[in-house]
C-alpha cells in the first residue's frame, strides 16, 4: 500500500514504530494447590523491526508462529517479558497504567473476528462513541458528528447508528471494527488477520478500504496475516515469522521475487494460484511434519527440523542475520 510518501530509508531513525528484541514468554503452570512454573511457551522470542510513518509492514507466518502475540505485545495488550517498543519517540514498554491507557489513543487494533470484537449489546452509536468518551474527546454532539464522519469514511451510512452488530453482514461488521479503531485518529493501526474471516469477494473490499483510509487518515499499518498474497498486496515491507522468531525481512517485492530463507521459499511455493497452467508445472517444496512445540523449540535454527536443506551446523548454531540485498536480511546459515 504505497499511497502518499515515497519509501524512506529502511531501518532509519524516522521509523514511527520501532521494536527492539521483543520477547513474550508465557509460563506453563502445574499443580493444584501450589502452582509452580514448569516451563515457558516462547511465543515471541526476540523480534526486532521498524515501520516508517505512513507505510505498511506485513508480518506473515503460520498459526503458532507468535505473530498475533507479537501484535498484542506491541500494543501492551499482552505484557512483554523483555524488549522495547517505541512509538513516535515514546517508549510504550515503559508506560505505567494510566499513562498507557491515555496513550492507547495513538495505537489501535483491527481484529480478525469482526462480530466477536464488537460488544453485542452496544449499538453502533455506543460502539463508536465509547473511545471518545473515555478519552474525553468532544461534546456529545461532536462525538456524534465524528462518528458519522468516520462511518462515511468506511462506507457506511449514518442510518446504521441505532443498529446492533448482529444486524450487519461480515464485511459491514469489519467496516465497523475499522471505524471504531479510527475514532481516536491513531497513528498506528495493527490489523490482525483483518480479512481472513471474510468471504473472498468481501476481502477485496476491505483491503481496498484499508488502503484508501491509510492515505486519508495518515495511518501506519502493521498487518498480521497468514495469507501471503494478502500480505504481499497490502505491504511495503514484509517480515516472515517462524516459531517466535523473524527469519527473513525485506521489501515486499524483494521477498516475493527472491525469497532467501528456506521457510519463506516453502511458504511461497505452497500457496496455490488460480491458474491451472502454472499449477501444473509448479515446483513445490513440501515441508516435513508439523510445527515443533514453542515450549521446547529445536536448538540452533528453529526451522531445521522441517528444513529440506538442514545440515549439522543448523543444530549447533543459531543463525545470525545476514544482509543479502538492499534492506533484505535473512537468518539462515546458507546462501540459498
Amino acid at each position: 500500500m504505497s499511497i502518499g510518501t515515497e519509501p524512506g530509508p529502511i531501518g532509519a531513525t524516522t521509523d514511527l514504530l520501532s521494536v527492539e528484541d521483543l520477547v513474550v514468554h508465557f509460563p506453563i503452570r502445574r499443580g493444584l494447590v501450589v502452582e509452580r512454573t514448569v516451563g515457558h511457551v516462547r511465543a515471541v522470542d526476540g523480534v526486532s523491526l521498524g515501520i516508517a510513518a505512513g507505510r505498511t509492514y506485513g508480518l506473515v507466518g503460520e498459526s503458532g508462529c507468535g505473530k498475533t502475540t507479537f501484535g498484542r505485545a506491541v500494543l501492551r495488550l499482552e505484557e512483554p517479558t523483555g524488549g522495547r517498543v517505541r512509538l513516535d519517540g515514546t517508549e510504550v514498554t515503559g508506560l505505567r497504567s494510566d499513562r498507557l491507557r491515555r496513550f492507547r489513543s495513538r495505537m489501535q487494533m483491527v481484529f480478525q473476528d469482526p462480530l466477536g470484537s464488537l460488544n453485542p449489546r452496544h449499538n453502533v452509536d455506543m460502539l463508536l462513541a465509547e473511545p471518545l468518551k473515555v478519552h474525553g474527546v468532544g461534546s456529545r454532539s461532536e462525538q456524534r458528528r465524528l462518528a458519522i464522519e468516520t462511518l462515511d469514511a468506511v462506507g457506511l451510512p449514518s442510518s446504521v447508528l441505532e443498529r446492533y452488530p448482529h444486524e450487519f453482514s461480515g464485511g459491514q461488521r469489519q467496516r465497523l471494527g475499522i471505524a471504531r479503531a479510527l475514532m481516536l485518529r491513531p497513528d498506528l493501526v495493527i490489523c490482525d488477520e483483518p480479512v481472513s474471516a471474510l468471504d473472498v469477494s468481501i476481502q477485496a473490499q476491505v483491503m481496498n478500504l484499508l488502503e484508501q483510509l491509510q492515505g486519508e487518515f495518515n495511518l501506519t499499518y502493521l498487518v498480521i496475516a497468514h495469507d501471503l498474497a494478502v500480505v504481499r498486496h497490502m505491504s511495503d515491507r514484509v517480515g516472515v515469522m517462524y516459531l517466535g522468531n523473524l527469519v527473513e525481512e525485506a521489501d515486499s517485492e524483494a521477498i516475493y521475487d527472491d525469497p532467501r530463507h528456506p521457510y519463506t521459499k516453502a511458504l511461497l511455493s505452497a500457496v496455490p494460484q488460480p491458474d491451472p497452467e502454472a499449477e501444473a508445472d509448479r515446483e513445490r517444496i513440501i515441508l516435513k511434519g508439523d510445527l515443533p512445540s514453542p515450549a521446547d523449540p529445536p536448538s540452533g535454527c528453529r526451522f531445521r527440523t522441517r528444513c529440506p536443506w538442514a545440515a549439522d551446523i543448523c543444530a549447533e548454531e543459531v543463525p545470525v542475520w545476514r544482509e543479502v540485498g538492499d534492506g533484505h536480511r535473512v537468518a539462515c546459515h546458507f546462501d540459498l
Partner: protein, 317 residues
Amino acid sequence: MALLEVEDLRVSFGETRAVDGVDFQVDEGQVVGLVGESGCGKSVTSLAIMGLLPRRAASVAGAARYDGVDLFSLPRGEMRRLRGPDLAMVFQDPLSSLNPVVQIGRQITEVLERHRGMRGEAARKEAVHLLDRVGIPDPARRLGEYPHQLSGGMRQRVLIAISVACAPRLLIADEPTTALDVTIQAQILELLKDLVDSEGTALLMITHDLGVVAGLCDEVNVLYSGRVVESAPARDLFARPTHPYTVGLLNSIPRLDLPIHEPLRPIRGSIADVIGWNDGCAFAPRCDRVAEECVAGEPPLIGAAHMHRCVRAEEVA
C-alpha cells in the same frame, strides 16, 4: 455413464432455499470442484448427496444418481451400505469428525470390520498400512493415540485414511484444508492428488479457494446463491471466465503471480444484502453489467462444454 449425476437438486430449509436447481456430474476417476462463497449451497449439496441432511428440517428434491441408482430414493439401510465402500466424505473440521474418546486405531479398524469384514490382526495391519499410506510417521504407535494428541494436519490425514479405508469410488471433500496452515494444506492436497492418481478415486472437491481448484480439479462448477452459474473444464474456466461472478471472484483475490500492488476490483455489496431478491438473475444486484434482460427472468445455463448462466455473456466478452 457418469459415476455421479446430480440433476436439478433443490434443498430448502423451511422458507430458505439453500440449493436451487444444481446440475453437475462426476465421471469415474475425475476431480470435480464445487466452488463458491459461504451460503452458496456447496456444503448443503454435498450433504444432500451423502444423505446426511436432517430429514425433518430439510426437504430435498431432484435426483443424485450414483452408478445410475438414485440415492434419494434408496432406503436408509441401502444408503448406509453405500457409505464407505462407494461414497466417502472428508470434512473441514477433523477434530469434530473424529470420536474424541476412541483411539485412532479403533476408529479405523471399526470401518474395516464393518465394510471389509476384516478382524483382529489383519485389520490392525491394514490400519497401519493406511496410516502409512496417508503419510503419518510411525503409524503403529499412532494407533493407540487419541484425536486430541494429534495436530490438525495429522487429524485430517487420519480422517482421509478412514475415508479411503474401503477404497471408495467417490470421495467428497468439503473444505478439507480450510482449517489448516498453508504448508500443511500443501501436504494434504498432495496426498489427495496422489490418491486420485494411484487409486483412480473420483473426487468431488468443495472449496472457496480458487487456487485449490486450479491445482486439483479437472472440471469446475461455480456456485452462487444455490445455483451453478458457470461450469467448465478448469483450464477453460480460468483462461476464459465468462460469468460476471466468476470474473469478479478472480478480480477480488490478490495474486502472487501478478505484478505487486495490482489493484483489486471487488464485487460490490454482499450476498447478505440482497436476501429476498428473486427477480431474474440472482447476481443482478451485485453485477456491474446488469441490464434489463437480467431481471426479465432467471437466465438458463447455456453452452456445451463451457456453460454459464449469463444472458449478457456474449455482449460483454
